[in-house]
Symmetry: C2
Amino acid sequence: MKPSAKAPSRRERPLPDLADRLRRRDRKLTGQRQSILNILVRHAHPLSIREIFAELEPGACDLATVYRSMHLLEDMGLVKRFDFGDGAARFELLAEGADEHHHHLICTRCTAVVEIGECFTSEIEQRLAAQNGFTAITHRLEFFGVCPRCQ
Amino acid sequence: MKPSAKAPSRRERPLPDLADRLRRRDRKLTGQRQSILNILVRHAHPLSIREIFAELEPGACDLATVYRSMHLLEDMGLVKRFDFGDGAARFELLAEGADEHHHHLICTRCTAVVEIGECFTSEIEQRLAAQNGFTAITHRLEFFGVCPRCQ
DNA sequence: TCACAATTGCAAATGATTTGCAATTAGGAC
DNA sequence: GTCCTAATTGCAAATCATTTGCAATTGTGA
C-alpha cells in the first residue's frame, strides 16, 4: 500500500460527525475515505465511481477501494445510490439524518442533472402495496430529456 | 453457422406483420429472430437476455445474436427495454402500434413482476419541462417491494 | 506501545454486453 | 430456379463496470 502518499491538501474531515459514525460501527476513518467524502462534499450532483476516481489525487486511492467505500457509505446511509440507466452507478452525499428522498431530471445528451425536490408517488405506493399485497415498497423514478443548452 | 439446426417446432411467425416490418427496413426475417420473438410472445413479462437465451432450443441462436436482435427489435419499436437495476436489461414485446406505456412492481426477493397499467407522471413531466426548459421528456419509474409469497 | 480486526493495493475473476471477422443466408432480380 | 449482394450469424476476443482473494498495512481501543 501507499499510506503516506495520500494527502497534499489538508482540509479533511468533511462531515463533522463522520468519524463518530464510522467508529460506532467499528469502521476506520482512513485517508482514502476522507478523500472520497471530500469529493462528494464538493459536488451537489450524483457522481459516478469513475468521476470520483478521476478527482482523487493520483495514487490517493485504488479504484477497488472507491467501490468498497461507496458500498460502505451506502450501507451507513451517508450516500444514496442512483441509476441513470447508462450502466454506471452514481452517488450523492446525504446530509446527516435527513431522508432526502428526491429524483432527477437528466439530460440525455450531456448528462446534466437537475435535482427535483418533490416526490409524488407515496400515495401511489400505498395503493400499490394494498392492491398487490406487497410490503416495503420503494421506487425509482428519474426523468430524462434534452436540456436547454443541448437543444 | 448452423442454419438447419434451428427449429424443431414449426409454429413460427409470431407477429403477423413481422416480416413486413422487417422488410420495410431492409432487414431479414431469420430463423433466430423468429425463435426469439416466439419466446417473447409466450411471456407477458419482461425477460432478460439470459432468460431468453435459456429458452431457445440448444444451438438455435448465439448469445451475441440475441443481444443484436434485441437492439434491432428495440429500434424497430417491437420491444421495450426495462432496467430493474440488477444489472441485466429486460425486454417485453410491444403490441403493434400501441404505445403501451406502463410500469412495474418488482419483488426484491424473487423478482416476480406485477405490471402496472396506469402512469401518473404526465402532468409532472409537463411541469418539469416548463420549469427547466427541457424538451422530449420521458421517465423511468419502477416500484420495488416484497411480494406476498416472499414475506 | 500493542494487538488485531479493518482496510488497502494489486491482480485476477465476474458478468453483462459489444465487436471484428470470415463464413453463411435471406430476399429481390433475372 | 439461379444469382448476387447486403444483411446476418457464430465464434472468439475485447470492453466496461464491478467484485473478490490475498498478503501487506494501518487505524483504534486497551
